[in-house]
Symmetry: C2
Subunit: 415 residues, 2 copies
C-alpha cells in the first residue's frame, strides 16, 4: 500500500493514464482561430458513468441530451464528444436535433446506441451548431483515438476543450488498492476547462474524470457529488453560472480494483477529492483578469449551508472584490457583506482575519499591522478567515479579485 499521490503538473510525462481510455482531438472549423475544437475520450470496453449538471434553468442542448442519454443507457458511456467554439444553447429544438445527430453518428462509428455517446459543447450562445462539420471529422477522430493511449492524447483533449482558458487544466492521482483478490494499481485522471461563466460568448465549466477502478453508476454518483461539494461547488469568479456546466465521471474497471471494496472506495474518494480540488484551484487561478486568488474560510456557522451563503455573498461583492484587486485590507466591506447576506448574524460576535492577523475583533476595528495585511493580500494566494460565532460548521471557498482587466475583457466584446 503506497500513499495517495496527486500530481498537479500537466506536462505530458507527468500525466497518469487510467487503463481503458484513449483520447484525441482535431480542428473541425468551429473556432474562428482554426485551433483544435473537437475532442474525443473513448472507453474501448465502455464505462460506468455519473454526472452533475448546471442548476441554471436555461440549459444547453448537450446538457438535455446528455442527461437523457445517461438515463436511457443506465449510466453507460462508450465515448465523450466535446466541441468548443459553440455552446449549442438558446438554439431551440434545432439545437437538440443537431446534438442528437452528432451522438447518433458517433454511436454508429462505435457500434453502440446514441445514448452511450455523451455530448458537451462550450462556446458562443444562440448560434446554430454546425453538426455537419462535426460529423464529417468524427471518423478521423476515432482513428486517431484508437491509435493513442497516451499522454499526448490527453493533452490534445485538454487543449481542444479550452475557450478563453490560457492553459489546459489536468490533474491525476494513483494509489494501490489491496483486497482479497490481491493488490491493484488504480489511476484517476481529471481534465477541465473554464470557470463558471467567465467569458462573454464562451461560457461553461467542463470537467471530465476518468478512472480504471470498477464501480456502478450509483456508486460513482455518490462519490462524485461528495467530491464536488467540497471543491468545484465552492469556487466562484463572478457568480454567474453557465448554461452548460457539466462534471462527468467515468470508470472503466480495467485496473481490476472494485469500489465495492471499502478500502478501495475510501482511497478513490480521497483521490477524487484531491483531483477535484486541484482542478478547482487551476480553474480559479486562470480566471479572467485574476490577479489574486482568495482562499476564504467561513467558520463557526450553524450549518454548512449557512457558511456557504456567507461565503458566496462575500465572494460576489463587487466592493470586496475590488478591494482585493488593490490588496486593500478593507475589512469594513467584508463585515458589511456579511451583514446583508440574510443570515441573522450578531456583528458583535464576528471576527475577521487576513493572513495570520486579526483585523476585526467582535465586529469592531482592532489594531493590526496594515502593511503586513497589504503584503499578504498582494500575494498570488491569500487566506481570509471569517468567524461568525454561531456554531461549528465551516466552508472553504475559492474566489478571486475583480480587476479592471476583467471588465475590459468582458466589455470589449461585441456580438
Amino acid at each position: 500500500m503506497t500513499t495517495l499521490r496527486v500530481e498537479l503538473r500537466n506536462s505530458p510525462e507527468k500525466i497518469r493514464l487510467p487503463l481503458g481510455f484513449s483520447f484525441s482531438a482535431i480542428a473541425a472549423g468551429l473556432k474562428v482561430s482554426g485551433r483544435p475544437d473537437l475532442a474525443l475520450a473513448e472507453a474501448a470496453s465502455g464505462a460506468a458513468a455519473a454526472a452533475l449538471f448546471t442548476k441554471n434553468r436555461v440549459v444547453a442542448a448537450p446538457v438535455e441530451v446528455g442527461r437523457a442519454g445517461l438515463l436511457s443507457s443506465g449510466g453507460r458511456v462508450r465515448a465523450v464528444v466535446v466541441n468548443s467554439g459553440n455552446a449549442n444553447c438558446a438554439t431551440g429544438h434545432a439545437g437538440i436535433q443537431a446534438c442528437e445527430r452528432v451522438c447518433r453518428e458517433a454511436g454508429r462509428l462505435f457500434g453502440v446506441p446514441a445514448a452511450e455517446v455523451f455530448p458537451s459543447s462550450t462556446g458562443i450562445i444562440g448560434v446554430r451548431l454546425p453538426a455537419e462539420k462535426i460529423c464529417a471529422r468524427l471518423p478521423e477522430l476515432v482513428i486517431l483515438s484508437a491509435r493513442s493511449h497516451s499522454q499526448r492524447g490527453v493533452l490534445a483533449f485538454a487543449h481542444a476543450i479550452m475557450t478563453t482558458d490560457t492553459r489546459p487544466k489536468i490533474a491525476s492521482a494513483r494509489f494501490r488498492a489491496s483486497s482479497t483478490e490481491g493488490s491493484k494499481e488504480v489511476t484517476l485522471l481529471g481534465v477541465a476547462k473554464g470557470a463558471g461563466m467567465i467569458h462573454p460568448k464562451l461560457a461553461t465549466m467542463l470537467v471530465y474524470l476518468f478512472t480504471d477502478a470498477g464501480a456502478s453508476p450509483r456508486q460513482l454518483q455518490s462519490l462524485l457529488r461528495q467530491a464536488c461539494d467540497d471543491s468545484l461547488n465552492c469556487i466562484s469568479i463572478d457568480g454567474d453560472t453557465s448554461t452548460n456546466d457539466t462534471v462527468l465521471l467515468l470508470a472503466s474497471g480495467a485496473s481490476g480494483a472494485r469500489v465495492r471494496d471499502a478500502g478501495t472506495r475510501k482511497k478513490l474518494s480521497a483521490a477524487l477529492n484531491a483531483v477535484c480540488q486541484s482542478l478547482a484551484e487551476q480553474i480559479v487561478s486562470d480566471g479572467e483578469g485574476v490577479q489574486h486568488v482568495i482562499r476564504l474560510f467561513v467558520e463557526q456557522a450553524r450549518s454548512r449551508e449557512e457558511a456557504l451563503v456567507v461565503a458566496r455573498t462575500i465572494a460576489h461583492s463587487m466592493l470586496v472584490k475590488t478591494a482585493w484587486a488593490g490588496a486593500d485590507p478593507n475589512w469594513g466591506r467584508i463585515l458589511a457583506a456579511v451583514g446583508r447576506c440574510g443570515v441573522p448574524i450578531d456583528p458583535s460576535r464576528v471576527q475577521i482575519f487576513i493572513g495570520d492577523q486579526r483585523v476585526c475583533r467582535n465586529g469592531i476595528a482592532c489594531a493590526f499591522n496594515e502593511r503586513q495585511a497589504h503584503r499578504d493580500l498582494a500575494q498570488p494566494v491569500c487566506d481570509l478567515r471569517v468567524q461568525l460565532g454561531r456554531g461549528r460548521h465551516l466552508v472553504r471557498f475559492l474566489t478571486t479579485d475583480l480587476t479592471a482587466e476583467y471588465v475590459r475583457i468582458n466589455a470589449d466584446y461585441s456580438t
Copy 2:
C-alpha cells in the same frame, strides 16, 4: 387646483422651500479635504417624522440612536444633524456614546430632549467619531440656520452631506390642496446623497424629505414606505447595501394643509413618488464610474417580489453589467442570469427587448438590428425589458453598467 409640479433642477433659484424648515452647514474638520462636513436641518416648531433604515445586520451607531430616538419621542423631530467624513460604524459602544453626546448637545441648544435630535453619519467605517469637533461647532450651525430659511441653506446642506458624490441631489414638488378649510399651497423638498454602498470608505445612501403638510408619524410612515418601494428600493449600482442607509420624512404642518384630508394625502403621495423617483435617478446616474443608466423593466411575473428577484439578479450580474459598459447587446448573458435567479422560469416563454427591439424570442435568438441595439445601449439611459410569461406583475428597476473606472476607484483606496 394646479397640477403637480416636480422640479428636478438644483440651482438655488429653482428649489421650492417648505415652510417651517431652515438649513445650514459648516466645515467641522471631519473631512481631510476641509470641505463642509456638518449639516443641520431644523424644524423651528418641530415636525412629525417617519424613517426607513438599512436592512443590513451591521448598522452604524446613528441608525441605532436615531431609531431609538424616534420611538422615545413618539415620532417627533426638532433637528437633523448630519456629518460626512465618518460613518460611526463598527465603533462599538464608544460609537453609540459619541452619537448620543452630539444629540444631547444639540438638544440642549434647542431646549428639547436628545431624542428629538435625529443623527446621521456617512464616511469611513471603523474610525472613532470625534464628537468633540462636532459639538464645538454646533452653536455656530444653529445661529446660521436661524438666520436662513433660504435656497442657499438647502444647497449648503446638500453639499455638506456629499462624500464621493460629484453633485448635490435635490428635488422639490409643490401642489395646491383644497379642503373645507380653503386652498393651501403644499411643498415637498428632497435632498439626498450617495447610492447604496458605492465607495470604499464612504458608504451610505442618505435621503431627507421635508414637507409643510401636517401629518401624524403613522401617516408619514405609510406614505414613505410606499414611495420608497417604487423608487429608492428599486435602484442598485453594485448590490452592496450600506450600514448607514437612512430615509427620513419630516412634516412641519406649517402650510395648514392636513394629510387626514384624502385629497391632500393623494397629492402628497404623488409628490413623494415623484421626488423619490427623481432622487433615485440622480443617485444612480451619479454612481461611481457609471457610463450608462439602465431602466430595467421585468414584466409578466407571478408577483412583484418575483419580478424584483429577477431584476436584482440581472442588475448584479458582473457579466451583464460589463456587457452594458461595452454597449454590447449580449442577451445570452441576461437570459443566463434569469435562469439562475431561483425563480422557476420556463426559458421558452422569455422575451427580451433592448430599446424598442426584441432580441430574444421565446428564449431563442431572433433576428434584430445589432447596430441599432448597440446605439441604444450607448445612450446615457437605455430601456431594457424582460418578459417572463408567468403572470401580470412587473417592476421598474434602475441600475448601471460596471466599468473599469468603478474598479479603479474602488481598488485604489488603501486603509
